[in-house]
């Protein structure tokens, strides 16, 4: 079965650079969630989209922005990167905002 696809799997950036993370949800899923997981931490909710509209916003820095496109894929744009942004970034998708959503394998961002 198709899963949530995230790209790239690994990304190394320097401080103050920008990064773009992409998420391709499971086919027919219209809701996307973004989470950030620091080393040894639990995942923290960043933002979610339902039918291309922002549906909820968590602890996402102002330096980050995200959107969901007409094909339901989503991109997380991160600017002025800081060392503290180094983390695993997970995307999850569901059909409608519901309880059973599926996570991707994540993008590991390292800021040096």
């Amino acid at each position: 079965a198709a899963g949530v696809i995230q790209s790239p799997r690994h990304l190394i950036k320097e401080k103050r650079e920008t990064a773009t993370l992409k998420c391709y949800p499971i086919p027919r899923h219209d809701t996307v969630y973004w989470y950030q997981q620091g080393p040894g931490q639990d995942p923290q909710f960043l933002i979610s989209f339902y039918e291309k509209m922002q549906s909820d916003k968590g602890s996402i820095p102002d330096r980050f922005s995200a959107q969901q496109f007409s094909d339901y894929h989503s991109e997380l744009n991160m600017s002025s990167l800081e060392l503290g942004d180094s983390a695993l970034y997970f995307c999850a998708s569901s059909f409608g905002p519901n309880y059973g959503y599926t996570f991707g394998s994540g993008t590991r961002l390292t800021v040096v």
Binding site: D42, P43, P97, Y99, F103, S105, G106
Partner: protein, 111 residues
């Protein structure tokens, strides 16, 4: 402020033993309580979940016990196997929105 508190932080059990992980929550509006299993470098995978109108749910070797009045729930892994070694997160959500995770438990099952 952690809305979902999880313990223990780490757990070591012998193969065949029972692993027990506990969680407590504050927000009584939560209406869905999933458990996730995460292997290194992978995304969290849904293991089992329960709603507050049920006191226990069992799926294979995994059982959730739920105590609504105490605002606590726990995961029991029976006949623990080395392949169960992973980090386990409890979580809670309201109306299928954002998940609030516990701090995680690193489980090691020794052969």
């Amino acid at each position: 402020q952690q809305q979902v508190k999880q313990s223990p932080q780490s757990l070591i059990v012998q193969k065949g033993g029972i692993s027990i992980i506990n969680c407590a929550y504050e927000n009584t509006a939560f209406d869905y309580f999933p458990w996730y299993q995460q292997f290194p470098g992978k995304g969290p995978a849904l293991l089992i979940a329960i709603r507050p109108d049920v006191s226990e749910k069992k799926e294979g070797r995994f059982t959730i016990s739920f105590n609504k009045s105490a605002k606590q729930f726990s995961l029991h892994i029976m006949d623990s196997q080395p392949g169960d070694s992973a980090t386990y997160f409890c979580a809670a959500t309201r109306s299928g929105s954002r998940l609030t995770f516990g701090e995680g438990t690193q489980l090691t099952v020794n052969p």
